[in-house]
């Protein structure tokens, strides 16, 4: 089997994600008052507590608890008032105490969910579900829990190839990251396709950005994702043997790593082989997963309640005070865009799904509700296309909200066509000029003068007797050709709607 669609005819993939997010917005670490910063010199932000010096004790950061409660509220979790910190005991030199403070069976946030709008294209991977007319569907993804824990330090492996641990001669440890507040979200095994996994991660990232608990940089590792994947025959109830996938540090890697692993497992099963429970590493450059370590038995981490820390009994007042910080979330924003601005669901969902885009949209929109649709169009198509191609974020580009707003006004008032809007946008980037100036200087205004359009249309009809005949014989589609000819004749400046309308009128007169 070579493709997902082949695999999915016979098998169902069961995917769960574990997503670690550093609370980079906090000033200090989880259990000590060292600075929470990733840019300082090596071992600059260390103290007896985060270095695990003998006798040092942890004290939790209150804002970290607020952040995780906020994250729970934003992902429809139940907030558990009574939870505790546990110690997870294992030896590894990046963890200074050789145990990680994390949570036990009860986490601060339990039983949440996110609903994913899976758009048409992404929806193609899924074959076993009823879809909307446009091919999209909604996936309901359960969140098992979100727990609070501390991050480990950073190891630099020296003497091997590409800084890899295998073959390294020695390793160097920087404990600046050791003790950084980390929340771990675990999903239910509800995801069925790599696209769903990617969309979940994207949506979660947008939510965490919206509630401002982290910079969520996958590149810098402040948001990290591991995946658990298993396959089962369609219709089967039992889960297959799962592998754990690491190093999926971008949305593309998350998708491609899962895709590779699903196909790999399918081929193992097809050949009568056995999938082993193991941890595998996604190698983006080689486009494959390789075994990191095999697990014969479940790890025994000697988990027990940390006696250095107090149990929690969160009050309603505490939780409510956190709730007050809950901003409008992407789903609410999407619904508002549809209701208030009449955007299509797809556009609203796409815009609202990106904090950067939606903030830019709202800034450009101001109180000019009437330009909303055109503005959404320009942002989602022209601007997004340009940013993607250049690998820029909105704030990095030189496009201002005012100029995009002006462009949207020109488009929505029919002063220019969408084809012209595209051209104007290209010039805006090239020449750093305002849209109105560009339009004026180049005489790019859309011709909406009825008289001029009638002249144009008459010329086209005269030049295209064959097509006119076809139209008269009932071929409605041919009108597209005629509109194209008229647009051409207008040098792209004719108002296409008006041309279309005028053409029909003139043809019907014949």
């Amino acid at each position: 089997m070579k493709t997902l669609s082949e695999v999915f005819k016979k098998y169902e993939a069961v995917i769960g994600l574990e997503i670690h997010t550093e609370l980079t917005s906090l000033d200090t670490k989880m259990f000590c008052s060292c600075k929470n910063s990733s840019t300082d010199p090596v071992n600059q932000n260390v103290c007896p507590v985060c270095l695990g010096m003998p006798g040092a004790l942890p004290v939790p950061n209150k804002d970290a608890i607020k952040s995780i409660v906020l994250a729970g509220l934003a992902t429809n979790c139940d907030i558990e008032k009574n939870s505790m910190f546990y110690r997870k005991n294992y030896f590894y030199p990046d963890m200074s105490k050789n145990y990680q403070i994390t949570q036990g069976p009860v986490a601060f946030c339990m039983r949440g969910h996110l609903d994913l709008d899976v758009p048409t294209k992404a929806a193609q991977e899924r074959v076993d579900i009823d879809k909307e007319e446009d091919g999209s569907y909604i996936a309901h993804i359960g969140i098992t829990r979100i727990h609070m824990e501390e991050d480990a330090g950073k190891l630099n492996h020296i003497g091997g190839v590409d800084g890899r641990i295998a073959g390294a001669d020695h390793s160097l440890i920087d404990y600046n990251r050791c003790g950084v507040p980390l929340i771990e979200l675990v999903t239910e095994p509800d995801l069925r396709t790599p696209e769903e996994a990617r969309l979940f991660m994207q949506k979660l990232r947008e939510i965490f950005l919206t509630i401002k608990i982290s910079d969520c940089s996958m590149e810098q590792g402040s948001m990290r994702c591991d995946g658990n994947v298993s396959l089962r025959k369609r219709g089967a109830k039992e889960f297959g043997v799962k592998t754990e996938l690491k190093n999926m540090n971008s949305f593309k890697n998350l998708h491609d790593g899962l895709e590779y692993e699903i196909i790999r497992q399918a081929n193992v099963l097809e050949e009568g082989g056995q999938v082993y429970q193991e941890t595998r590493h996604w190698e983006p450059s080689n486009k494959r997963t390789v075994v990191m370590r095999t697990k014969e038995t479940a790890d025994d981490y000697r988990l027990f309640p940390d006696p250095d820390l107090a149990p929690y009994d969160l009050s309603d007042e505490f939780i409510d005070s956190v709730r007050e910080f809950l901003p409008e979330l992407p789903d609410q924003k999407r619904d508002r865009y549809i209701a208030d601005y009449g955007l299509s669901k797809q556009d609203a969902s796409e815009l609202a799904g990106s904090l950067e885009q939606s903030s830019f949209f709202e800034e450009a929109l101001g109180d000019k509700k009437e330009i909303a649709k055109s503005l959404a169009n320009i942002i989602l198509n022209n601007l997004a296309g340009y940013l993607n191609a250049e690998g820029l974020s909105i704030s990095e580009s030189k496009i201002s909200a005012e100029s995009i707003s002006e462009l949207a006004e020109l488009l929505s008032s029919d002063e220019i066509s969408s084809k012209q809007a595209k051209d104007v946008f290209a010039i805006m980037i090239e020449e750093d000029e305002l849209p109105r100036v560009i339009v004026e200087e180049r005489g790019m205004k859309q011709v909406s003068d009825k008289g001029a359009i009638v002249e144009l249309v008459k010329e086209v009809i005269a030049k295209s007797p064959d097509q006119v005949q076809q139209y008269k014989d009932g071929n409605q589609k041919i009108i597209g050709y005629l509109v194209g000819q008229a647009m051409k004749a207008s040098k792209g400046q004719g108002n296409p709607k008006l041309i279309n309308q005028t053409l029909r009128e003139e043809l019907d007169k014949l």
Partner: protein
């Protein structure tokens, strides 16, 4: 069921403490002896008794404000380290010799 020398070795491995082969038997005896001594803990009627994981006192929701304090100067941080390299702590190969 009594622990064997092999079990004792696994327990020692987990706790990262090397053992002399010759001491494994004695170690297993000690653990078996202790588990027997501690067995009464299993014989209480503990139905419905909540555990006390944390000792007494006003011990809920104890937290600190998110305000930066002093960290250790690098000389103090590295002062007791057996091996360092520049500002780093240094350890020998992590995987080496364990192939």
């Amino acid at each position: 069921m009594a622990l064997t020398s092999d079990d004792a070795r696994r327990i020692a491995d987990y706790a990262r403490i090397a053992v002399d082969e010759g001491d494994l038997g004695q170690l297993a005896d000690y653990l078996n002896n202790m588990m027997e001594t501690l067995a009464p803990i299993k014989e209480f009627d503990l139905e419905g008794v909540e555990p006390t994981f944390h000792p007494i006192g006003d011990l809920t929701n104890v937290m600190r404000e998110d305000e930066p304090g002093k960290s250790l100067p690098i000389e103090l941080a590295l002062k007791n380290a057996p091996q360092t390299s520049d500002r780093y702590f240094r350890v020998p190969t992590i995987l080496g010799g364990q192939e």
